[in-house]
């Protein structure tokens, strides 16, 4: 869109100046506190509240400020997102900022929700800042750049500076480094990088091992996220009356892969009827195969029961050890699949299992 100040934004070199937009809540817009938290989304040309500071620090012009009440977006999220995406649809901008949100939970949620939505819709990086105690960090650090911030607005200048400095790097097209070097909360995204010292992995691994053996500090190149604790399910009271389902991340599907489940980084899963089958037929027979790209498919294609043990489970059903084998097995591919996608697919599958009255699941992984 051609804005009315299109002449002004042409800098001296004739290169169009980069643009950015800031999202803030009703409080920082000076509209009001809690009593104004239902404030409907609005967009204003130019700088409102913290946008003045960001505009000073950033090598880009803040063309607009978006304002929304924390409760409005908190309770009417889809509506708020649609309105705000609508504001932005015709506008050109290179970066999107939200916050800083400090330790304000609802504001943090708002910044995350809107940052993620804008980034997804317009493919523009979203940058925010939150205190580590803000629940928005855990909820959205995988989606957008969130920098650690202070507890209250007293840290406005510091927090905004971090956001702006990183924004300036992105604007210049500089290569950005690891999360811990850049300062934002790690997003759990792995990148392939060329190391300047060109030391091969084997040498680096041995160096790390030696440090470990000598009790020295070393930095892993592959931090493992902290263990997710899952509540322990109660044991089945009566196995002989239980309905048992088979679920696999081993990629066993009907040979035509009707749900087009991806061979890696899967986002889809399928469920396939097995009622009346004593075992899974193989690929040669035109029945089942594996589409998993993370392991040699020969053994799974030759006998899919090696991955989804229907034959053994059916035997237990006939012997009366279990009540019934659930009429479907569920399958996806567990290689390169993010934890977030896996958890989402898990929740979707569980909904079906609950509905069908399944009591327990045997989950096979490859």
């Amino acid at each position: 869109m051609v804005t009315k100040d299109s002449e002004r934004i042409l800098s001296e070199g004739g290169v169009e100046m980069k643009k950015a937009i800031l999202y803030i809540n009703q409080f920082f817009a000076g509209i009001g506190g809690e009593e104004q938290a239902d404030h409907v989304p609005e967009i204003r040309e130019g700088l409102v509240g913290p946008a003045i500071l960001l505009n000073q620090l950033l090598d880009a012009e803040i063309t607009h400020t978006i304002i929304c009440g924390d409760n409005f977006i908190g309770s009417r999220e889809a509506e708020a997102v649609e309105i705000i995406l609508g504001f932005l649809a015709e506008r050109k901008f290179d970066l999107f900022f939200a916050g800083p949100a400090f330790q304000a939970g609802r504001y943090g949620n708002a910044c995350g929700v809107i940052g993620r939505a804008v980034q997804a819709r317009f493919a523009v990086p979203a940058i925010s800042s939150m205190n580590k105690e803000n629940p928005g960090v855990e909820m959205f650090k995988k989606d957008i750049y969130i920098f650690p911030g202070g507890k209250s607005a007293a840290k406005m200048r510091d927090d905004m500076k971090k956001m702006a400095e990183f924004g300036n790097k992105l604007l210049k097209g500089e290569q950005t480094g690891f999360a811990e070097n850049e300062g934002y909360y790690g997003r759990g995204i792995r990148h392939q990088v060329w190391l300047k010292n060109a030391k091969p992995a084997a040498e680096r691994a041995i160096a790390m091992l030696l440090k470990k053996l000598h009790g020295e500090e070393f930095q892993t190149e592959l931090p493992i996220p902290k263990i997710d604790q899952v509540p322990i399910a109660d044991p089945l009271k009566d196995l002989s009356k239980a309905t048992i389902a088979l679920v696999t991340s081993g990629g066993i599907v009907p040979v035509d892969n009707p749900d087009r489940i991806q061979s890696a980084s899967a986002t889809r899963w399928g469920r396939y009827r097995i009622s009346g089958l004593d075992k899974l037929g193989n690929r040669k027979q035109g029945k089942f195969k594996t589409i998993h790209a993370g392991y040699d498919p020969a053994a799974g294609d030759d006998d899919p029961n090696r991955v989804v043990p229907l034959d053994a489970l059916r035997t237990y059903e006939k012997e009366g050890k279990i009540g019934k084998v659930h009429d479907y097995f569920y399958s996806t591919v567990g290689t390169g699949t993010t934890e977030a996608e896996a958890a989402r697919m898990g929740r979707e599958i569980v909904a079906y299992l609950h509905q069908a009255g399944v009591d327990a699941v045997v989950l096979t992984a490859t």
Partner: protein, 65 residues
């Protein structure tokens, strides 16, 4: 049921039964069909027993075959 028990632990699985490999968790193609079926029957049986066993923490159940 998993070959990579440490991964299963990391992602929070509570009842774990080891399998024999990644590409063929429950039946080594280098053995006879009868042997494979025996192994599969045994390990699935351990898994079923695990489902009806009370546990207080993440537990790896022992397999005999």
């Amino acid at each position: 049921m998993a070959n990579l028990i440490p991964v299963a632990k990391t992602v929070g699985a509570n009842r774990m039964v080891p399998t024999i490999s990644i590409p063929y968790p429950l039946g080594d193609p280098a053995t006879t069909a009868a042997e494979q079926l025996k192994l599969r029957y045994h390990r699935v049986g351990v898994a079923l027993d695990a489902l009806s066993t009370a546990i207080a923490e993440q537990t790896v159940f022992e397999v005999k075959i």
